[in-house]
Symmetry: none
Subunit: 123 residues, 2 copies
DNA sequence: CGCTTTTTTCACGGATAGATCACGAGTTTG
DNA sequence: CAAACTCGTGATCTATCCGTGAAAAAAGCG
């Protein structure tokens, strides 16, 4: 199948929590199960995952995923972040990936949003 | 290994105790964990951290973060120092960063928790 | 101490920024 | 050709930010 040029590119695979992203393949696995993402959703996820742990501005994301400059008032990034969150949460309810930093941008990082702490009150 | 072109600035990173501040990115890490600060909070923290160990006046901080002159009776700096302290303490309860010097201003410096001040109260 | 000055914190309202929904046009698929 | 899907926009709703005024607390001082 895939034959890599002399520069010997290794297939890129990104990991984040129980997520596995294969940018070359267009595939995302959540705990081994494949997610169905649209092209935009996938590109956005890949772009964020490549910069895990850092804050990325909307302008930056738009340039990377859409190409060209983000026009003032364009909400595309926000909307696709929302769609992405929705699908990620459906797949992995107990984990948050995309964090908003108001005034700065978004940060992608798997975080145990609120791990069920064991209180003694349980029946 | 990132190599920066001549024209590019080396990313500024400030350290203070278990705090890591990345002014260019808008990111603050406390023991590796990201804090969520507002723009003002972040700018104020950066401004103080750049002058670690020195006393900085309110006028000075206002000029740097807000721009323009601090008007008589304006308590913005105090209020944002308070907000900042609150978030820092939530993240790092055992460490004090912002110290008040009444009549002079504020000093930013990480101080060990085992701050057993030697007063003469002993028997 | 008791009083004055300085600092800290809270609560509020207007402003800004972000999240989400619904829709229409365009595409893809079968 | 029809059904299903994608994409981006506009509109609405929600969350967060920011600076102010005032009360509470702390510090300074005689």
């Amino acid at each position: 199948m895939a034959v890599y040029p002399e520069s010997a590119e290794v297939p890129e695979i990104l990991y984040a929590g129980e997520l596995e992203i294969r940018p070359d393949e267009g595939l995302v696995l959540a705990t081994g199960q494949a997610l169905t993402l649209s092209v935009r959703e996938f590109e956005l996820l890949s772009a964020m995952a490549r910069r895990q742990g850092t804050i990325v501005t909307r302008e930056d994301l738009y340039r990377t995923v859409w190409g060209g400059e983000l026009r003032h008032g364009d909400r595309s990034v926000d909307v696709y972040v929302s769609k992405l969150r929705s699908k990620l949460e459906a797949a992995l309810p107990d984990r948050r990936f995309i964090h908003t930093h108001p005034g700065f941008g978004y940060r992608f990082q798997p975080q145990p949003s609120r791990n069920v702490h064991m209180d003694g009150s349980g029946a």
